[in-house]
Symmetry: C2
Subunit: 338 residues, 2 copies
């Protein structure tokens, strides 16, 4: 098991990233490799007591910033923490890279350095969103702004394998993000995807309208990357806006202020449900290696959770299962031809 | 001025619709026509004292339900409140129809019975969404699931005319709903739309990410109808889910219950910002007549507001201004050719 953590990527790197890695090593006992500027990472590590043999440091001179053009940065910055990590994990099916840095660079890097699993049309970025009483896996959340219906069918398969393996529920329910509940609703692409999903061997339960996402009983929501990104970002933005707005309006009156103190704990508890730190990072599925995008603002707790997620990813052989699924589908298609 | 109100459409028809019409007549002094089953509508009207000469009743034997296939219902149910109203307003540029019934039937009816304004590629459904300190007009919110970039350019023009005329702000800012702030972000269609908007004479300010929608300083947000519908429904669903969730978690503890009583008024005040009743109905822009879709759950207050909106729609000659804009654009294009 080789878990690489990009020590230099993200708003709180390297301090929180290194702390999260130390916490994970202590809690889960797995070995890790921190990738980044050696002196800086070692200086951070020196703050903690932990089993020294469990954390290796892989030196990388530079880091890819949030503002750099992803594909170009991957090609040019061979000495960046991201590229050094990707090169180190290449060809190792039991490896995962976690990064809280630039999403674009991580996706480009995964595609360019690791490549797609044979048979995968488009790798997709999935995200486990909090919902009433659990999580729902949204896929794709932004890797593919332009999609064909057969990509969506494959996203559903990728989500299925990941959900069963890492989130631990057999035969998860698959829904299609759509603008109506009826079969004939949606864009041409989405209508086609409906038919493909209906005829697949997945547990497809039909369309899910956006208003029902927070309370859906579906486990996996499939959509193109444009739609998925809109859903993800709007959930984030609106939750944060409403929570701030409520606080502000309560604090505007004397009575409200007292009330605010009294409800503080309940509200905190409720807010925790929407904490992206709890849900872990977003897996980029379909490339030859484990790639987990941690939120840019990840603190130590989020990184520790992403490491736990990586352990499950490797232990449950997500890559092997995706490959097996693809071979199964290929065999079925060939049989149908005969 | 001919304002038609579908008395039979919506969850609270005819009771709340008729009440809203009576309230509007009293407050604004304009004449109205209620369309629906005469005996039922008159029975409702008999509950109120109001200037009798201001409200006419136009009889329609049936109503189109939410579950009927829109285009087919429009063609077959000539005696429905919707079709009777559309036939009555046809050819009259100073008329508006308000309906809280089936959105699909209203859009189909508007297209089939009134037709597009010459030069309009695709009429679009706009919705004024509450945002921090005002409203933002989202267009299209579902009339066109499949769009070309030039439709979006025209949606922006329609939004511009409506915003200036009815919402009363000159030179409103136009933004493009996108999955990144940079010019080169998004699907192929959206990237093309960016260039068209950039080269238009509208006040285009660039991309707006979904997370920024609740606090955007943009006045008009342009997108395809699939994306717009997702945004609209997710805003609705998540706001309602969060508000209910907060209430539930507060009511779960004794301390919280007391706090809940103390913050009740402040919360109510805050919630009012998100009340779709305040924002008025959704105008269907680009057809030869005013069409306003009121929320299915509209009460009297929402209907009264939609009537006020209709008055502004007619008084400010939205249709005439759209036609003028199209002629202007046509003239510019012809000049460029020479």
């Amino acid at each position: 098991m080789n878990i690489f953590v990009d020590a230099m990527g993200g708003d709180n790197a390297p301090v929180e990233i290194v702390k999260g890695a130390v916490d994970a090593v202590k809690e889960y006992g797995v070995p890790l490799t921190l990738v980044g500027k050696e002196d800086i990472v070692k200086q951070e590590l020196a703050k903690y007591t932990y089993p020294q043999d469990k954390i290796k440091v892989l030196h990388a001179e530079t880091v890819i910033g949030f503002d750099e053009e992803p594909a170009m940065a991957i090609r040019r910055k061979e000495d960046s923490s991201l590229v050094v990590a990707l090169n180190a994990m290449k060809g190792d099916p039991d490896s995962v890279l976690i990064s809280a840095g630039s999403t674009g660079a991580l996706l480009s890097g995964g595609l360019l350095k690791l490549g797609r699993i044979k048979g995968i049309k488009r790798p997709a970025l999935a995200a486990a969103l909090p919902k009433d009483g659990g999580v729902v896996l949204l896929i794709d959340t932004g890797a593919n702004a332009d999609c064909k219906s057969e990509y969506l069918e494959q996203f559903a398969m990728l989500g299925h394998v990941y959900f069963e393996s890492v989130l631990g529920k057999k035969n998860p329910k698959v829904g299609l993000v759509n603008i109506g509940s009826e079969e004939e609703k949606g864009s041409m692409m989405v209508k086609e995807a409906y038919q493909l999903l209906k005829n697949s061997d997945l547990n497809f339960v039909g369309n899910v309208e956006a208003r029902d996402i927070p309370t859906t009983d579906v486990d996996i929501l499939v959509c193109d990357g444009f739609t998925g990104n809109i859903v993800l970002k709007l959930l984030e933005g609106l939750s944060s806006y409403l929570m701030k707005g409520i606080k502000k309006s309560i604090m505007g009156s004397a009575k409200g202020k007292i009330g605010g103190v009294l409800i503080k704990n309940d509200l905190k508890q409720f807010k925790k449900q929407f904490d992206s730190d709890e849900a872990g990072g977003a897996p980029f599925l379909g490339v030859k290696g484990g790639i987990i995008k941690a939120h840019g603002s990840s603190g130590a707790y989020a990184i520790k959770n992403a490491i736990n997620q990586s352990i499950k990813f490797i232990d449950n052989d997500v890559l092997g299962k995706i490959t097996a699924k693809l071979q199964e589908e290929k065999a079925v298609k060939e049989q149908e031809k005969e």
